[in-house]
Symmetry: C2
Subunit: 976 residues, 2 copies
């Protein structure tokens, strides 16, 4: 999850009228210019300025890309700027692009603001041609021991082969398989097992084959002009921004589609110049656990792409200490520099060219959810950051992920040497979580099965960007090759999907749709497997899962070093504030509880800080006393939505049927009277569970026919009975009622306040039950704080009528019981008209609760039941929206109405309480929006309460920081 950001170029030239500067030397940028230079370019600049060994180069800005995409052509000044920077680079390096005797080679790499692994294209070795390849060979051999010529020759032709292959595929659109097949053919012809077994002559022949492939497939010669190579590669990077896979990834990650990418042109260094060369990736800490140490992979005599693609198996980074101790020490020192400089976990790509270490890339590294919390608190303890900063380093999506259940260790224990769920492999724990599903072996099947409701595990030898669809559809991903930095691992972590990679014991046969595990175990497509992304273990069958320790902590079943009360807003003055999870009323803090581990402690500390800084209160949507109690343990500060219709189901459905079929006022009144004591007990349970906290009770909302059988089913039943000449009296009577109440569009029919106005006594009964339950709870020493919510109001007149009736009932109950009752009367704002006339409606409402689900349905004209199945997939695929508006609030449409209604409502009644009770209340992005819109609270499902608390804290912090930035800017202006 990434916050969406407005496009600001960050280009200082934006302030003036001078033409935009489209190219920056690495020495001109810094890490804060990500909008302009992309993440990779900004960090290359930062490292350059830190004095780290970065190969010289320059970055073409995202603005150039945006101009290209808008106009369909490069901006006119770009060519000259590139020429100027290239000339500088050539001067620095002492050789020219394409220089025959000693060619300057460059890489052309994409680099967007947000890291998009595998999405964008890279071309290495730009600058090579039929002539300069020989110059490169000579230069590579120079100064080498005798016999080095053959290796140098091989290196040069291999570099040329790679260039044609990458250029052909990414720039000219040639199918990459053709090149791979040609390599295989060459190896086969020679009986070679490995690429390294191909010698210079083989590679030279392969170059000719590759050129022929290009000629045939692309309809043009591979360009010999090195500048043309570079320009075409730059353009290809620009174009790749709008490639299908890139767009899909952006939608998945909520990255705006109009940012564009920067292009980095960097002088080549070579990890494939022999055994004293190599390439690797490193993390400053373990991205899975957060622990400090040396984490990474190294591959000798290879180019960087070989590591990331997971094609050859790497060695652990620690082994570099033995291979090249000097470079190893230098790397460790650089890693320390970077972590202290970035004050965060960094990941690094490096190359060693003949014993010289070069930094090719760094960035703040991706990490697992657990590591995010751990690292944040570790950095606080190291004094590198404060708690505010720690809060910004985690997010609700990560917290949600930590709350997923895990595999039940007991179920996995072996009984007499026989495991119920045999472990069939142990791979690399690449992305945590416990996933169970049916084995599928290709992306297409994964998507198809998942659409039909199956849970699947996508199993591949290794993944590549073509598997993205399948990865999105799957519960988890399992590969037999590649390390923690392989495509599968990186992408899965970004998605928060469970992933085990590099399970080398498995032989994956995608053609026959099965894999074989040690011991001859064969898993066919459709067989159940369970994968544990936290341990890397793979099991046969469905392993039972247990709650996460973080949930155990929220439930109060884990003892903490300290016990701090939650100091959030909206804690009623009569109670001593909402108590922290461990002192929740239903939990007895026994001594035999397990003590929290590092992760739980980190979560606890950060949650406490979020609670301390947030302004938004967090309530829960709960319909039962049990849910309410749990929500309270999770930190809920009240109930934001109790749906009373849920209380009308089960055995009470019969009473509701009586109510609907009632013949006249008397029968209806009798049915209501029968429901009242049941409702009263429901409410009393809620008041007890939320003693001292507000409990929002929504009066009956859905259309009455929802309590009756489906019209089609019943019609068929009646027709068949009649055909058999056995008509059922009751069915006939029911069918009559069903016909009477049938609606074309029940969402927009007789429901909510409309029901209350049309069915005499219905709302009065519910209000009476609320009031009586409150009175009883007062008598038993409690403090009930009822908020009665009238749904589906469209105009203030509706509310006035119901309010009048409700106030009369409340007055009666007050008089009858002698108790003072706290009962607020408010309304849902869930129709556009309610939002548009909120200023009028506030005259009759003590509070508003935004029903953003229904508001989304009416603002967009979407019936959620229908559209998610019928065209949402197409809409997401076409990029019409990046994320379903039912998941994250639509700021421009629904959001505009929420802001307007909040403003108009408060203008009428400054003390109007504003909340939201749609599902958006538990969505991180949406919580930020509701904070910005000035709401008092969000309400969400109990399980999302911690997420909302965390995000509410982050939103408050973001606002404070934005204000500080504005203040700082203002100060700067004042000083200047």
């Amino acid at each position: 999850m990434l916050d969406s950001h407005p496009i600001t170029s960050g280009n200082p030239k934006d302030q003036t009228n001078t033409p935009l500067k489209f190219v920056y030397d690495f020495s001109e940028g810094n890490k804060d210019l990500k909008d302009l230079l992309g993440g990779k370019g900004a960090n290359l600049a930062e490292m350059t300025n830190l004095g780290l060994p970065v190969p010289p180069g320059f970055t073409i800005t995202t603005e150039a890309c945006r101009a290209y995409l808008a106009d369909g052509a490069e901006p006119p000044s770009l060519r000259d700027e590139v020429s100027a920077h290239l000339a500088t680079l050539e001067a620095t390096m002492g050789r020219r692009l394409g220089q025959e005797d000693d060619p300057l080679l460059v890489s052309v790499r994409s680099g967007a603001k947000f890291s998009m692994p595998g999405m964008m294209d890279t071309v290495l070795n730009i600058g090579l041609g039929d002539r300069s390849v020989r110059g490169l060979a000579r230069r590579a051999a120079a100064g080498q021991p005798a016999g080095g010529e053959a290796a140098a020759e091989r290196f040069a032709w291999d570099s040329y082969r790679r260039l044609i292959q990458m250029f052909g595929r990414t720039v000219l659109g040639v199918d990459g398989e053709l090149f791979e097949d040609a390599i295989d053919d060459a190896k086969l012809a020679k009986g070679a097992a490995d690429d390294l077994d191909l010698d210079a002559e083989d590679l030279r022949a392969l170059v000719e084959v590759f050129k022929e492939i290009v000629r045939r497939e692309a309809g043009r010669e591979f360009p010999q002009d090195p500048r043309e190579q570079m320009d075409l590669a730059i353009r290809a990077v620009f174009d790749s921004w709008n490639g299908d896979r890139a767009r899909l990834y952006r939608r998945q990650e909520r990255i705006p589609g109009d940012l564009g990418t920067a292009v980095n042109v960097c002088s080549m260094v070579f990890g494939n110049l022999g055994p004293d060369s190599g390439t690797g990736v490193a993390f400053t800490r373990d991205p899975a656990s957060g622990h400090q140490g040396v984490y990474g992979d190294y591959l000798a005599n290879a180019q960087g792409e070989d590591v990331v693609a997971g094609i050859r198996n790497t060695v652990p980074l620690a082994e570099l200490e033995h291979i090249d101790p000097a470079s190893y020490d230098q790397l460790l020192s650089i890693m320390e520099t970077l972590e202290n400089h970035y004050r965060d976990l960094c990941d690094i790509e490096f190359t060693i060219e003949r014993g010289k270490l070069w930094m090719l890339q760094t960035r703040v590294g991706k990490r697992t959810a657990g590591a995010a919390f751990r690292i944040a608190t570790q950095l606080v303890d190291q004094g590198l950051i404060d708690m505010d900063e720690a809060l910004t380093r985690v997010n609700g999506a990560q917290l949600a992920q930590l709350m997923f259940p895990r595999f039940d260790l007991a179920a996995l224990a072996e009984h007499g040497g026989e495991a119920k769920h045999p472990r069939i492999a142990w791979g690399i724990a690449a992305s945590p979580g416990a996933a169970v599903g049916k084995a599928v072996f290709d992306s297409y099947t994964a998507v198809k099965w998942s659409r039909s409701g199956e849970k699947v595990i996508l199993i591949r030898r290794e993944t590549n960007p073509d598997d993205l669809d399948g990865m999105i559809a799957a519960e988890g991903i399992l590969t037999s090759r590649g390390g923690k930095t392989s495509h599968a691992a990186v992408v899965a972590r970004g998605m928060g999907k469970t992933c085990v990679c590099g399970a080398e014991e498995l032989e994956v046969d995608t053609k026959r749709r099965r894999f074989t595990a040690p011991g001859g175990i064969v898993v066919e497509e459709g067989d159940l497997v369970s994968i544990d992304g936290s341990t890397g273990k793979v099991y046969l069958g469905r392993v039972p899962v247990v709650a996460s320790p973080v949930v155990e902590y929220f439930e109060g079943r884990i003892r903490l070093p300290e016990q701090t009360p939650v100091a959030g807003p909206e804690a009623g003055p009569a109670t001593a504030g909402v108590t922290g999870p461990t002192t929740g009323s239903a939990v007895d803090p026994g001594a035999d509880q397990p003590v929290a581990d590092e992760l739980v402690t980190a979560v606890h500390r950060i949650m406490n800080h979020a609670d301390a800084v947030r302004r938004l209160a967090v309530r829960a949507n709960a319909d039962t006393a049990e849910d309410a109690a749990r929500a309270r343990r999770f930190g809920a500060q009240g109930i934001g939505l109790c749906r009373t219709e849920h209380m009308f189901l089960g055995e009470r459905r019969e009473l509701v049927e009586q109510l609907i079929l009632a013949d006249g006022d008397e029968e209806r009144a009798a049915a209501l009277e029968a429901l009242r004591p049941l409702q009263r007990e429901d409410f009393r349970g809620l008041f007890r569970a939320m003693d001292g906290l507000p409990v929002t009770i929504r009066l009956l909302d859905p259309p009455l026919h929802e309590f009756l059988p489906d019209i089609t089913d019943l019609s068929v039943r009646v027709a068949l009975a009649e055909a058999r000449r056995e008509p059922q009296e009751n069915d006939l009577r029911l069918l009559q009622a069903v016909h009477r109440l049938h609606e074309q569009n029940p969402m927009l029919g007789l429901r909510g306040v409309r029901l209350g106005l049309v069915v005499p006594g219905l709302f009065a009964m519910q209000v009476r039950a609320v009031a009586e339950a409150a009175a009883e709870h007062v008598r038993e020493g409690g403090r009930p704080r009822a908020e009665v919510m009238i749904p589906l109001v469209g105009t203030v007149q509706e509310l006035e009528i119901v309010r009048e009736e409700a106030e009369a009932v409340l007055a009666e109950v007050r008089a009858a019981t002698g108790e003072e009752l706290e009962v607020a009367l408010g309304t849902m704002i869930e129709l556009p008209r309610a939002a548009l006339t909120a200023g009028q409606i506030a005259e009759a409402a003590d509070f508003f609760s935004f029903g953003t689900n229904d508001l989304t349905q009416t603002v967009w004209g979407f019936s959620r039941d229908d559209v998610e199945a019928s065209f949402f997939t197409a809409y997401l695929e076409k990029g019409i929206f990046g994320v379903s508006p039912f998941e994250t609030i639509d700021r421009d449409g629904v959001g505009a109405l929420v802001r307007r209604a909040a403003r108009d409502g408060r203008a009428t009644r400054p003390d109007l309480k504003l909340g939201v009770c749609g599902e958006h209340g538990g969505d991180p992005d949406s919580v930020h929006f509701f904070h910005e819109a000035g709401l008092d609270y969000v309400s969400c499902s109990p399980f999302r309460v911690p997420v909302a608390r965390l995000e509410a804290g982050r939103a408050a912090l973001a606002e404070r920081r934005a204000a500080a930035a504005v203040g700082l800017a203002a100060e700067r202006v004042t000083t200047a």
Copy 2:
């Protein structure tokens, strides 16, 4: 139909901080203070200041009423103000209220801003008591010839009797029937036929009976304190503002519910002091025809209420010339004064007290629709008003009424003395129109039958406010008693309902639910009758109807004295402007056409003026060439909405079914290909009919399952067939598709642009058909101006994708045909989100057309199909809205979105064309709103086009006048 007005008190004191003045003497007001003094009070003041003989009195303001209704008690200063004005009145009249030897009597009458006949309550003779009744008798006898004492005595007791009766009923809430029964008993006991046969002694006894009725029913004595009588009566008038009937009338007439009523306290004059006294009503012209002359009714020796209630039959006003020539001459002179002063038809209530004429009331009189047009042009010809003013004197509702069909005279002609539809009565033509329906004899049945779809004629001896529901439900009203000013006549004219009243030949027996006509004809409940409100004739059976002459005029089948082209906006420059009705292309102006009568000429002149002043263009919603041609004859300046789904019905349904059931791209493409030539022909017909004018074609909008059988019907059919073991293959296949496409809420499902994005080729086919039809029409020398409209857009991305596809198709057709085609691409704004993001959507739209039907459905969350049946009646009854938002646009909700979208859309694209194609386009109030919102055109059904043209003219005029008023005020400020 009344325009809604904001509440402005008009009270000059409003500008300052001094307390409000709640009471105005008649001499203090004027006719422009209707907001403050009510219509009656303002006009009484005006007449007083004109020097006309008005009995002295004062008016309590509507502000006092509003304060009373808001607080539940009279404003504190009101009592003193009333006392002061009463003292002045007593000084003027030389006697005091309740003075025993010579009591001042007053009437207390309601008087709201808008006349609400029969709705509000009046009490006469306030000030009488057990003692002063004798003083009144003595004063009435004074100066009278001998023997006058008995008559005076009778008069005094009759007055007292009337006071107790009216006071008891309207102030104390006693059932009026009880008093009537007591009178009947008294008459029965004495064998009297008429009230006049009761003598003073009888009436004194009746007074005692009445007082006993009050004591028993109201639980209190009839108040003897005259001031208490007055205060209670004033309060009763205030209260009656919120009586059920008054509220229902206001909703029916769209009078805002919060205006309040004024109260007029007027010294009594008596029309029942003997044969030289009397009372009457008069019109300055015939309210049915507009002709000048002496129109009205007179009733000797009676109080005013007797005339209005229609209890006794009146004599024509002309007879007053013989009864009291002096008063008659004076009345005619006053009528001329009033008409010249008000520059309009006035109606008048007057009383003659012993030969002295008193004006009790005047107002601009109600009139029939035809009379409104006639009178407006007559006044222009008299030089009293100009054409602008004439335009304000008529409205679209009246025009619509004139367009109703009338009875076919041929069908009514007698054949050999045998009429096919015998005329069974000839009453008073009280409200024009031709109504046919089943006879019903009470309001309850009228409502019940009408709800089940029956057309009914409500037949009563006379109507009273309790019949209002039935009158609303009925096609027409027929009474056997009462004149043109009876309750039935006045209310029916206000409603635009056909009414024949005073058909004295009929014996109406409401108990046996039938009436008897001369010749022993008996009409039972349920028998068909036809009533002609323009002639007063009543026929047996269903008389065929023919078009109105106004429609004949619009159709060009009536020759006019002059032929002026319509000079409205939006006439394309390539054509010579939209031609007037009589030169419509399809009509041959033959010499044998009838020449227009006065009414048609009046309509023609006013329509021409409306066309000359309006800014809004008027288009029609038409799906066929025939409709389009007709619309053009009616003055439509293009097609604002062609619903292409209507072209998918009938025999083409099979092709649509093929499209839906298509298995794969090929079958689908084939089905689309089969539809394309049919669509092309449809469009060509439209382009021909609207040559040179814009034709807006909406791409397919409804969900596809609308073209398939109903899911329940089909399920039952399939189940029964299976039970019989005779499954139908095709039904099974259909049922599968129906299930696949079934939606919970089809209104909010897969339709509009969503279909276009999900069904490949659908929209492209339609766009291609449009383009090809346009190209063909160009080739045949025409000028097609196509506007392709994409429905249900919620976000600009949807529109961009469809636009791109459509532009590609247009380019292809342009290239293929070599024709330059005018095809604009725009969208419906029919979802709240479209309105909220109109600024973005305008980037991809050449025009917006507001779909206010769907916008109303989504803004309110109403499914029209469902809610109008299930709760709209309850909502109207409860006053939640005064008029259905589907009828007149909801300004606060839907209107707010329309204004916002218009503003934002034009901000993005200043030349954005804005129109509306919902049914509101033909609703008078809504047309005014669309004018104010700055739209370019409205589009409505062909038949409503003239109404929209007229109202567009009136809206332009209203805006101009408002601007002038602001200018005047500004000038005043500048001068001051």
